[in-house]
């Protein structure tokens, strides 16, 4: 009896082990892919795909730095990627296993090389801007027809925020997004690493924080779409998804996205393979699958973010490639800025400042 139990357990373990060899674990941002692509990958490769999501770079980074996350593909943003590469968290990509890499867009690769020199460790998945999403009707109601909807003054001028607080405002809970925006608003360099310059945003953000209903990095999609809130500082594609959900629900909510005229943060989400990935072979297959022009176009058409894949562009729908909020024209592109990672010392100043702004302590 005991022997039979033991052998049964051994068989089970063996089966589990075999199954594990055919698994690939992907850790991506929430609301960030067309889920049909996941089944398509499984059908094409026969590899079981385990897909988990997160909504903050900090959570991902902690998993990476702790090591042994068990993920094969993760998607940090540029500045976080840069720091994690220095920490030795990612392996170099084997380009011979990535034939679809030829589809990538050199204009984007030139920019992401700032974070990942020579793009050795990562491929661009999507990129976008951080800006302001509004409920057109409610903002008009609160501020009148000439509301500064394409300016940071909408959210950083207490006079406007006082009126908007009634209908609800969400900010991203991400100091690395909000502090550069506030710096741009007061005319400082948004990429400043100088604690004295960064400290200048404190009065600006403290003045409007009481009118912010919630600092959160994913709830605003639904909140905007349902009409629970009227303004959110958020990521471009998320706000456009909210626009779409509202249109589908036909609930009379009209959402619009604007990259602020004072300058908007341009960010890049990069797919990379952790140094201790259990199945790097399958991870490369997944990256190659994602870089397929048709697949990448499907993903962008679904989530309303621009991608770093040039070959996918002919397959993008008109409301994606033709929307300057997603694929900015030359004019807007000039207005976009990028940021670099903070050093640990400056990071501490930034986090402390953020806590102070949010909690008043």
């Amino acid at each position: 009896m005991n022997f039979r139990l033991l052998s049964a357990a051994a068989t089970l373990a063996l089966v589990a082990g075999m199954a594990q060899a055919e698994e690939v674990r992907v850790y991506n941002w929430s609301d960030y892919i067309d889920e049909d692509l996941l089944t398509k990958f499984e059908e094409e490769t026969g590899i079981k795909l385990i897909y988990d999501v997160f909504d903050s770079n900090e959570v991902l980074e902690t998993k990476m730095l702790a090591g042994g996350s068990g993920y094969d593909v993760v998607v940090p943003s540029g500045t976080f990627l840069q720091r994690q590469i220095v920490a030795g968290a990612f392996q170099k990509l084997d380009m011979s296993k990535l034939p679809n890499h030829k589809n990538m867009w050199d204009a984007i690769e030139a920019r992401t090389a700032k974070y990942d020199p020579n793009n050795e460790h990562s491929i661009n998945y999507m990129w976008g801007t951080t800006g302001i999403g509004i409920n057109v009707g409610k903002v008009k109601e609160a501020l009148g027809d000439d509301a500064p909807v394409d300016s940071l003054a909408l959210v950083f001028d207490p006079a406007n925020m006082e009126k908007l607080a009634e209908c609800g405002v969400h900010f991203l809970d991400a100091p690395v997004e909000l502090i550069p925006a506030a710096l741009a608003y007061i005319g400082e360099d948004p990429d400043s690493q100088d604690p004295d310059v960064i400290a200048k945003v404190e009065p600006v953000l403290t003045a409007v924080a009481p009118y912010v209903q919630k600092f959160h990095s994913s709830e605003y999609i639904n909140a905007l779409a349902n009409g629970d809130i009227c303004v959110a500082i958020g990521w471009s594609g998320d706000i456009l998804q909210a626009r779409d959900r509202a249109a589908e629900a036909d609930n009379g909510v009209e959402i619009a996205y604007n990259a602020p005229s004072e300058g908007a943060l341009m960010w890049f989400d990069q797919m990379a393979i952790p140094v201790d990935a259990p199945n790097p072979e399958a991870a490369h297959k997944f990256l190659n699958f994602i870089m397929d022009a048709g697949n990448m176009a499907a993903a962008s058409n679904y989530v309303y973010y621009a991608n770093g894949n040039l070959a996918s562009q002919p397959m993008l729908e008109e409301d994606v490639i033709g929307d300057p909020a997603i694929y900015p024209n030359e004019e807007t592109l000039k207005n976009l800025y990028t940021t670099s990672p903070y050093s640990p010392k400056v990071q501490r100043v930034v986090t402390r400042l953020w806590t102070k702004i949010k909690s008043g302590t």
Binding site: T62, A66, G67, V86, G88, A209, F215, P344, R348, R352
Partner: protein, 297 residues
Amino acid sequence: MRRFTLIAVPYFWLLVLFLVPFIIVFKISLSDTALAIPPYTPTLDLSSGWEGIRGFFAALDWENFTFLTTDDLYWKAYLSSLQIAAISTLLTLLVGYPVAYGMAQSPDEWRPTLMMLVILPFWTSFLIRVYSWMGILSNEGFLNQFLLWTGLISEPLQILNTNKAVYIGIIYTYLPFMILPIYSALEKLDASLLEAAEDLGCSRITAFWLVTIPLSKQGIIAGCFLVFIPALGEFVIPSLLGGSKTLMIGKVLWEEFFSNRDWPVASAVAVILLLILIIPIVLFQRNEQKQREAEGQ
């Protein structure tokens, strides 16, 4: 020998599940941050032998603990957590005691069912239960819709994302931990003592104060500790239900760990939290011991 083995089991358990993790956290709290995997230094390198171990201990220091005294955020967060934990413990007692009393007074055949009803919520994931409170308390949630419908209020009440929601969440989550020990104390209560009190001229209310409450004291104390201790370090409830103004040490810990990537300072915060918790835990243990001795007599 058998007796020794029996005693060794719980102590071994305590060693593996409490002391070893504590030593690991304590060790990290004496380290410095580094951009590496894991993100702190020094790490113990046994390959270089005695020298490596000596170097390891030389690199440890108390810097992170002195750092905690330089910023008022930390003690404010500890105090605010103590306050929230204390108030919610008191409120849980006020809600839990009548429930436990009602259960103890109910007919014998109902008691297993009532007991079941108290335990039943545990069958659903804690996270889902807290999430559903978001649905109940939000501005468009059930509670506000209901109150608006009854005409009691004309504007939705802002409960979600405030400390009120945190109190509701803690009371709801920890209520069974308050009810069960009080119920078990009340269940043992000898009804003839109350009759005797009434015979001697006590009104029912005075008898309740003079007999029932003192005899259920052990249950009240146990229930309060079981609520207070986990509420103090609570993270999930304040982060889901609380607003940005809710200051609790669990959230500060999260920020040190995730936003600052400063595992050493996060560990120092955790060590201090543990020291604060040890006081009530020791008091609780002592109370338990006294109770056992009293019962033994």
